[in-house]
């Protein structure tokens, strides 16, 4: 049987990690600060995967150097799948991430602007190597729309054509990230994922946005088609937060793998 996944996403910007609230960033601290104050090791050992996104736009060579140095330090002591992303505009950007230790890369704007580059990534690294992140929100008429460029630019409506387009995309996981619930801790957008439009969706589905405690996570994992959840909520889940959350969920349901 395949277990469901709890994935943590760290947001990186110029040497520090940040919290995000409705896509607005608040500084938390650098890797040493997080390690010291939040027992980062404990968290990593109870995660199914880790995502690290470099959220600085148009990163220069120095920004990338700082980012990849941090990745190198994290990779040294933790043995879990690592997905890297942020600013991937073409195959070469993705290649650089793989060469610096990514097992998978997150693509977002590329999906709307340059579909062929995703094929190029798949041909070299396999379909599973790209994780598609769809940032979305509801407009005034309750219609769901996806957004590109860090949630700033409205892209297209999430309807059956859009779902077909994702099904055809040579990617593995798809993360649906709610801009409205981002960092709110108010609970996940379950209604979105169980809506009719997802009936024919074929990819592994990850839900992101709104997770504030273990009952929120359990609520999402209870949905059959959800393969896992992603949270970037540093304050709620670091330290003992995720370790306890994993234990709590395992008491109710054998949804998650056990790491000895």
């Amino acid at each position: 049987m395949l277990y469901k996944r709890i994935i943590f996403a760290l947001l990186f910007f110029e040497g520090n990690f940040y919290l995000s609230r409705n896509f607005r960033l608040q500084k938390v601290g650098d890797i040493d600060w997080i390690k010291k104050n939040y027992d980062f090791g404990k968290t990593c050992n109870s995660l199914d995967e880790l995502i690290i996104l470099n959220v600085k736009k148009n990163s220069n060579i120095n920004d990338k150097k700082v980012f990849f140095n941090t990745i190198k330090r994290i990779k040294k002591n933790f043995f879990l799948p690592l997905t890297l992303g942020g600013g991937i505009r073409n195959f070469e950007d993705a290649k650089e991430m793989f060469e610096k230790g990514a097992d998978k890369v997150v693509i977002n704007t590329l999906f709307y602007n340059n579909f062929l580059e995703i094929e190029k990534i798949a041909n070299t690294y396999g379909n599973q190597a790209s994780t598609l992140m769809i940032d979305y929100k509801q407009d005034k008429d309750n219609q769901y729309f996806c957004y590109k460029n860090s949630g700033q630019e409205k892209a297209e409506p999430i309807n059956k054509f859009f779902i077909e387009k994702i099904n055809k995309c040579l990617c593995g996981d798809v993360i649906f990230n709610s801009i409205d619930l981002d960092g709110s801790g108010m609970g996940p957008d379950i209604n979105f994922i169980i809506s009719q439009v997802f009936k024919k969706f074929l990819k592994p589905t990850l839900l992101m946005g709104g997770f504030g405690n273990s009952s929120h996570i359990l609520k999402a994992l209870n949905i059959k088609k959800i393969s896992g959840i992603v949270t970037a909520n540093l304050f709620n889940f670091l330290g003992n937060g995720l370790v306890d959350c994993r234990k709590n969920i395992l008491i109710y349901k054998k949804y998650l793998a056990s790491f000895e």
């Binding site: 395949l2 199914d48 879990l80 097992d103 070299t124 690294y125 592994p204 393969s227 793998a257 790491f259």
Partner: protein, 210 residues
Amino acid sequence: MKKIIILNCNFGNIDSVLNAVDYLGYKPIIVSNFKKKIEGSHLILPGVGNFFYASKKVIEFELKEKIDTFLKNGGFILGICLGMQLLFSKGKESGEAAGLNYFNGKCEIFKKASSNKLPLPHIGFSEVYHPDTSLWNGIKNPSDFYFVHSFRIKEIKKNSDDLKIGFSSYGEKFISYIEKKNIFGVQFHPEKSHNNGLKLLKNFFELNAL
């Protein structure tokens, strides 16, 4: 003296494997120049990606001949993910292609995933039911390991006594572990499977020459 070799054939990144080997206290040698023969005690063939592409590299680098000599000299090989698939005779990803042919089986796409409404690729932790052999010392049965793949080997022909197999399931049962004498293969990623994975790799490096 243990001499660990990691083959870098340009299919997928070897960084995670390298980190794990390093963490376990070994100093691996990365081989990406295939002009010379492969000399060492333990060889890791990692790989993520496409069987067809990897098969072309196997031919281009004359890997079969080199690994044959390595095995004849008593070395141990561990194929990981695509590396395990390549130990079999045939793959059908992006067209039919030949593997290294140490095991007689075909690597094909998960057939029952779509009828069971399971998404592909198979990504995440799954249980591995494993044989009770040295590589599994100190690891519970079953144990959870990280998988990421769309293609699998369902069965193997010509069973023999020294062939040991481990299974997992994703809509259907498939081979997630195989060993025969000094040849080992894992469909999952021990280097991304927390402590269970580290234990398995440690057990592999502790195997002593035949």
